[in-house]
Structure formats: C-alpha cells, structure tokens
C-alpha cells in the first residue's frame, strides 16, 4: 500500500491529525513550566487516545478513557496540584530540569519496549475490520480468559490504595 493510498483513506487522515495533536500535546506536557497547563495538555493527549480508540471502533475503551482518565485521574491530579503548589499568579513554577536527559532516556526505552511488544505480538499485518461493538467481547475476555490477571491487578490496586492512605495519613501522635 502506497503512502498516497494510505492518506487517501479518511480514517487515516483523522488518525494522522489526532496523532499530530497528541504528539504536540505530549511535548507540551513535558516542556511546560506551568504545572496546571501541563495537566490540561495531558487532557488533550488523553482525549486524543480516546479518539484513536473510537477510530478503531472500541467505543467502550474510548469512553472508559474519558471517564476514568479525564474525568477522574486528571481531576485528581489537578485537585492535588491546586491544594499543594499550583501558583495562583501567572509566574511560572520553575520545574526541576536537572534530570531531563535520564527522563528522556526512560521515555524512549518505554516507547521502544511497547512498540516492540506490540509488533512482536500482532505483527505488521492489517487486522480484520470489526463492524460490531467490542464491549461484549471485552467483557468475555476480562471475566473469562483473563479473570485471574484481572483480579490480581485489582488486588494490587487495592493494596496501593491502602498504602496510599497509610502514607498520607499523619500520625495523630505527632
């Protein structure tokens, strides 16, 4: 398939546009000196990923991303930032730039790992197009085939939750 054909398909055009926006937003997230702006750009990036899932026909995953990541996780981020150190004035909060190179290295490594894992597992062939909604299949997969990993992850998250509470809670005797 030539590049021209690839671009000729409208889905691919949308994919391209969303990808560019996501990349720009992601870049903004790591370079912005204003923490709140960074988080808001994260919202754009997440919305982009939701749009990508929509393009793939995975509605349920897309709306889950919106509900969980934008509606809850980012809100928690913002909440935490505002209650601690979001500057009210416009002067930028100086972020620590000393570790930017190691951070970039880690980011590249994560990207490489994920890209390798994806291509190694699925290969480069085009998957078959899915017409119907995948919600049911997703449920089947999660609660039949992968129920033990699913429960394990839930357990880990619960442990993390409890740990978070224990850490955050100040000892009243202090």
């Amino acid at each position: 398939m030539s590049l021209g054909d690839w671009i000729g398909q409208s889905e691919n055009l949308v994919f391209l546009a969303v990808g560019v926006v996501m990349l720009a937003a992601g870049f903004w997230v790591v370079t912005s000196r204003n923490l709140v702006h960074a988080v808001l750009m994260l919202v754009v990036a997440l919305a982009g990923s939701a749009a990508l899932f929509l393009l793939l026909g995975a509605e349920f995953v897309a709306w889950t991303v919106v509900l969980v990541y934008i509606g809850a996780v980012v809100v928690l981020f913002l909440f935490g930032l505002m209650i601690t150190r979001a500057p009210l004035r416009r002067d930028p909060l100086p972020l620590d730039h000393r570790r930017r190179w190691p951070a970039a290295l880690v980011a590249v490594a994560v990207f490489a790992t994920l890209a390798y894992a994806t291509t190694a597992f699925f290969g480069w062939e085009q998957g078959e197009a899915v017409e119907r909604s995948l919600t049911g299949d997703l449920g089947e997969l999660l609660f039949r085939r992968f129920v033990i990993p699913f429960e394990a992850v839930s357990f880990v998250l619960l442990a993390a939750l409890i740990g978070g509470i224990v850490l955050a809670r100040k000892d009243p005797r202090e």
Partner: protein, 337 residues
C-alpha cells in the same frame, strides 16, 4: 464521499436543532426558577418585562449579560480562564445529544449511550477546576477545590446507580433502556402492564441518582463550590458578561440534560401509558424532565446548604454502600427472575 458528507451534514443539522431546543428550554427553566422561587417566597417575581407575567425577563437578563463587559482579572491565567466556560457548555451539550426524544427522534443512538453520557458529563469537572484555578482569586480556588472533591465523590454513586438500571435493562443504549421499560412486566388478564424502573425495582437507584445529580450540578443543598455566602460565588466569582452567561446556561442546560437522563433511565423515557411514543414522545419526555427540574428548583429554595465534609460523608458512608447493595440486589434478582 458524498454519502459521508451527507452524514456530517445531517449530524450538523441535528446538533444545530439540539442546541436551539436546549437553549430555548434552558431559558424556560431559568424563567421557571424566577417564578417558582418567587411564589415560594410570597413574592410576585418578574412582573413588568414583556407585559404579562414578566415573560420577557430572561431575555432582558440575557441581553443585560451580553452587553456587560467581559472582564479578565489581571492575575488570571488568560487562555484557561477564557476556555473554561466553553468546555463546561460543550460537556453539557455532548450529554444532551444522546437523549432519545421518541423511538425515531434520536440525534445519536450509541450502543453505550448511558456510559457515554457519564463520560461526557465528567468532563465538566475539568471545566470547573479550570475556572477555579485560572481566576487568580483565592475564593475561586477554594470553590474549584470544593467542586473537584465533590464531583469526584459523586461520580461514583452516579455510576453505581446507573449500573443497576443497566443490569436490569441488559443494555447501555438509551433507546434500549427506554424500550426495556415498555416491556410488559406482568399481565393483568390479557393486558400487559409495563412499569418504569422507578416503580419496578430501581427506586433506591433513582434516589441515589437524583442526589448525585444535584451534587454534580452544584445545586443547593450541594452548592458549596459556589456558596455565595461563603465563597462569593466560588469559581464563578471573577466571571462576568458572556462568560458568566455561558456558565449559567450550562447550569440550566445541565439541569435539563440530567433530568432527561433520569427520565430515560428511571421514568420510562418517552413512553407513557396509552400515549403513542412516536407522536407524543418528545412531550412526554420533556414533561418528565421538567417535573424533575421543578423538584430541583423546589429543593433549591427550601433547603440550606450542607457542609463539604458532611457532603463527603453522605457520599461515602451512604450513597456508595447503598449503590453497591442496589447493584447486588438487582443482579441477584436478574438471575433469579
């Protein structure tokens, strides 16, 4: 390609109509609030504008707001400050799109209708946090923080209440849920009797849903984020002119949207015993939604406001466990029956 274009055109048309209708109904709700509150307080309310009942009052107020200066405080974060009201309004409209007015009159019928509505609605939290932080005012910041805490706390009961309905209906589609409530529940002789979910097992869910909706909409008794007496309107403090109007419209459109969703989920949507849903559907749904809106207005003018910590304990100690119990009971009944 031309077909695709057509789809977009149709969608744009539908959206345009939806926006106009929503604005009109929002204005009606605004007027209703003025009049209802007045009568609850032994007042007459709007009286002069327009000649009779002061019907033109809302238009006069809209005009007044439009010609007011759109102020941005010096310490505000300009782009975020200006974007926040639009995000708020956008989130509300995104919710409204999926409400089915009749079996055929649906802007978008998504498989995951209600799930989508919850997701889209949760975005409005971001708008409030944006407004609260970017205003550069401490009162706004506290209001934004309260809103954040409150909306996170009430997202959960809202979803839990919906899950009960979804289990009972076996679908997340708004049309599907409506139709499921039109199915005969039992037979009296040869006549099949259908009941809306509020009467058929989801009364607890309905109550939780409405309480959570009040909190999501930041209406009394849960209006701590704007709390005029404490925070001088909280995250709205610094807004004026058209941007304030957008928040205001967002509030009333949100009331309409959430009431309509509640009507679909629990009150049988566009169905009403003996009325043809194709013809009367929109009016039935609107009637049900406006009834719920009236209840919200009623609460607004009779109750004082709770405190933030009391609201949190209400959410976590009562609504979440009740919602979970409701799901468990519904699931068991679904399997048994």
């Amino acid at each position: 390609m031309s077909l695709l274009d057509n789809v977009w055109v149709v969608l744009a048309l539908k959206l345009g109509i939806a926006v106009v209708v929503v604005f009109a109904v929002a204005l009606v709700i605004m007027f209703a609030e003025l009049k209802v509150s007045a009568h609850m307080q032994h007042r007459v309310g709007p009286y002069f504008a327009g000649g009779r009942w002061g019907w033109a009052q809302v238009f006069a107020e809209a005009l007044k707001f439009l010609q007011k200066e759109d102020l941005t405080p010096r310490d505000a974060d300009r782009p975020v400050f200006r974007l926040a009201p639009m995000v708020s309004l956008l989130a509300t409209f995104a919710v409204i799109v999926i409400i089915p007015l009749s079996p055929k009159l649906v802007a978008v019928d998504l498989d995951l209708g209600i799930f989508y509505a919850l997701a889209a609605g949760s975005v409005s939290t971001i708008a409030i946090l944006m407004a609260g932080w970017s205003s550069g005012s401490k009162y706004s910041l506290i209001g934004g923080l309260r809103a954040g805490a409150q909306l996170i706390a009430y997202e959960l009961p809202l979803v839990l209440a919906v899950v009960g309905v979804v289990i009972q209906a076996g679908t997340m589609s708004m049309v599907g849920i409506t139709e499921a409530q039109a199915q005969p529940l039992f037979h009296l002789g040869s006549v099949g009797i259908s009941l809306p979910y509020v009467l058929a097992g989801q009364i607890v869910g309905f109550v939780i849903f409405m309480i959570a909706v009040l909190a999501e909409l930041v209406r009394i008794p849960f209006d701590m984020p704007i709390a005029e007496q404490e925070l001088v309107m909280g995250y709205l403090t610094e807004y004026s002119g058209i941007r304030f109007t957008m928040f205001l419209l967002g509030e009333y459109a949100g009331m309409l949207a959430m009431s309509a969703i509640a009507a679909v989920l629990f009150l049988g949507g566009y169905h009403f015993w003996g009325l043809n849903a194709d013809w009367f559907g929109p009016f039935v749904l609107l009637g049900k939604a406006l009834l719920l809106v009236f209840v919200m207005i009623w609460f607004r003018w009779t109750w004082p406001r709770l405190r933030e910590d009391q609201l949190q304990s209400l959410a976590w100690r009562w609504l979440v466990p009740l919602g979970l119990a409701n799901i468990a009971v519904t699931a068991v009944l679904k399997v048994v029956l």
